[in-house]
Subunit: 325 residues, 2 copies
C-alpha cells in the first residue's frame, strides 16, 4: 500500500455500496481528510425508535462492526428482541438486530433530549473510534416517498415491506424545500478538493442528498472535480432496486444512464469524471463523448482489498482531473 | 398431585416471590380460576420504553419463560442491545435483556396506539399461552416514590441505581388518589372465594396494590378469607429490601411484623389467616393471639415442586378458613 493521500475529499453515500467505497476512502486518506455525507431520506420512525439505515450502514462499515455478509446490520448480531416481539404479534417486517437496537435506543434517547441527528452521529462515530467525519446530509426530516402503482409509499414500506415489488413512477422528498444541510455539510463541500459520488442508488440515495437546498449548489460552486462511481455493472445493480427503477422510469439500466442521470458539469449536470466497471468498457467512448473523463476498472467490491483498491484508483483519477483543471 | 382446585382465587403479587407462589397457584387451580393482581408501582419509563418489572416477572414466570436463576428476566436471554448502548455512552444501569426488550417495545407500541396496560397485558398473556388471568392493579401511572436520607427517589432509582443503599423513611404512591383499579380487578375480588397475599414486599409490592382506591375496600367487603404468606423468614427477606425497610421504618423484621403490617380483619386490618415458615414457628402463638389463624410450613420456594406444594397448602388452609367462616 502506498502512503495515504492528504486530499480533502467529500463522499456522498447511501447504504451498502456507498459504505464500501467510503470505507475504502477512509483507509486510503489520512484521518480527518474524508467527510462522508450520508443520505437521510430512508430514515424513519419504527417502534418509537428513530432508524437511520444508511447512516448506520456507513458508520458500522467504517467502524469495522458491520455484517460482512449482508453489508448492513451488525457483525455477530442476535435477533432475540425481534423474535420476542414477533411472538407477541408485533410488527417484525423491519428486522432489527439486538446490537443494532442498542444504537436506535441510544440515538432516540439523545434526540428526545434535544440533540440533533448530526450531533448524535458525531458522538457515535467517536465512540466507534471512526477517525473520518460522517454527517447526515440534513438534521431535518426529509423522508423519501416512492410514487408507485400501489400509491405513494414511504421508502421503507416500498423497500422492505413491499420488497421493491411495486412499479415506480417517481420520487418525492417530503419537506425538502424547508430543510437545511446539517452543520458541517457546506463547510466540507467548500473545502473539498474532490467530491466522490459513491456507487449508491442515484434515485433514492444520491438524489435525496443533492436535493437538500444548497447542497447541489455548493458542489457546483466548488471548482473541484466531481466523480461518480457507477452502481450499475453490466446493466444490473450490484444490490438493490436501482436497475429496476431505471427501467420503470423509462431508461435502460446502464452505466451510461447513470452518467446521464448526474449529467455533465459544463452542460447542466454535476460530474466531471465517471468511473465504470470493466464489463461496461464498450460504453466508455459514449460517456466520454458526453464530455466526461472516464476511468474503466474493476468496481465490484467483494473484499476489503477491493475497497481500498477502488478508492486508491478513484483518488488517483481525481488527482489527474485536478491537474487538468 | 391431587386434582386441581376449582376455587375462585385472587392473588396479590409483586415480583419474584409473588410470582413464584402465583405460579404455584396457577398450577394447582383449574384454568380461569386464578386472577393475579399485580403491583404496578415499580413501573417506569426508561429509554422511551414502558417497563413493568413486576408484571413481566409474573407473566414470564407463569409462561415458563422466566430466568430460573435470577427469578426475573427471561430464560435464555442475551444482552447485546445493552452492550451496544453502553459502548455509545448510554445509560446501562437498568439492565434490559434482548428478549425482554421485545416485550417493552411491543407494549410501548400498543400503549402509544391507545391501548391500556391491562389490555396489553391480557393480549400478552394469551400470546404466552397463560391460562389464568393477570391484571395490573391499575391502568393509571401511580409510581412508588421512596423517601430516603438521599431525598425522594423514584422506586427504580432507589432499587436498582442506588441498590437499596439509602435509608428509607417512608413511601408515597404518586397520583394514587386520582387512580382507578384496572377493569376486572373489582370483579375478580368480588367473585373471589379466597384472597392470597403472596410473599412479596409489603411496603413496595402489596401496599401499592391495596392503596389503589377501592381495592382494599373491595377485599374487606368480600367476606372470604384473606391469607398472607410472610416474605420474611427467620428475620430476613428471601429476596430484596423488605427486612432492611422494616428495620429503617422502626420495626423488627419478622413474620410477626408482617402480620401486624397487614393487620387483623376484625380489628382494623385485612387478614384472616397467616402463613409462616417453620423457622418462625415460635412466633405462631403470638400471631394467633392477634386473632389470626396460622399455617406453619416450609415457605421457601426453591423448585417448582416447592411452589406447587406451598400453593396446595395455602389452598387447603384457605378451604379450612372458608368452612369456619
Amino acid at each position: 500500500m502506498t502512503n495515504k493521500h492528504s486530499l480533502h475529499v467529500v463522499a456522498l453515500a447511501g447504504g451498502v455500496g456507498g459504505a464500501k467505497l467510503a470505507h475504502g476512502l477512509s483507509q486510503t486518506l489520512i484521518p480527518g481528510r474524508l467527510t462522508v455525507i450520508v443520505n437521510s431520506g430512508d430514515d424513519f420512525e419504527h417502534l418509537g425508535l428513530k432508524i437511520c439505515p444508511d447512516l448506520d450502514t456507513v458508520c458500522y462499515t467504517l467502524a469495522g462492526i458491520a455484517n460482512p455478509t449482508t453489508g448492513w446490520g451488525r457483525w455477530d448480531e442476535s435477533w432475540n428482541a425481534m423474535e420476542s416481539l414477533e411472538r407477541l404479534g408485533g410488527p417484525a417486517w423491519f428486522r432489527l438486530g439486538d446490537r443494532d437496537l442498542g444504537t436506535h435506543l441510544e440515538r432516540t434517547r439523545l434526540l428526545s433530549k434535544g440533540w440533533t441527528l448530526s450531533q448524535v452521529t458525531d458522538e457515535f462515530r467517536r465512540a466507534w473510534k471512526i477517525e473520518q467525519t460522517i454527517i447526515p446530509v440534513t438534521d431535518d426530516f426529509v423522508p423519501t416517498m416512492v410514487n408507485t402503482d400501489m400509491g405513494i409509499l414511504p421508502f421503507q414500506e416500498y423497500f422492505v415491506k413491499q420488497q421493491c415489488r411495486p412499479v415506480v413512477t417517481g420520487f418525492r422528498f417530503n419537506n425538502v424545500d424547508y430543510s437545511n444541510p446539517a452543520p458541517g455539510v457546506v463547510d466540507a463541500i467548500q473545502k473539498a478538493e474532490l467530491v466522490v459520488i459513491c456507487p449508491s442508488n442515484p434515485w433514492v440515495s444520491i438524489d435525496p442528498i443533492l436535493a437538500i437546498p444548497g447542497v447541489r449548489m455548493e458542489v457546483l460552486s466548488n471548482a473541484c472535480p466531481v466523480i461518480a462511481v457507477s452502481p450499475i455493472i453490466g446493466g444490473r445493480a450490484v444490490k438493490g432496486p436501482a436497475a429496476k427503477m431505471y427501467l420503470e422510469m423509462g431508461f435502460k439500466p446502464s452505466a451510461l444512464s447513470v452518467a446521464e442521470h448526474y449529467g455533465v458539469r459544463i452542460i447542466d449536470g454535476i460530474l466531471s469524471g465517471f468511473v465504470m466497471d470493466n464489463k461496461d468498457k464498450k460504453m466508455s467512448m459514449e460517456i466520454q463523448k458526453m464530455g466526461l473523463q472516464t476511468l474503466v476498472t474493476k468496481t465490484l467490491m467483494k473484499t476489503n482489498d477491493d475497497r481500498k483498491q477502488l478508492a486508491q484508483e478513484v483518488l488517483e483519477f481525481g488527482k489527474e482531473l485536478i491537474k487538468k483543471n
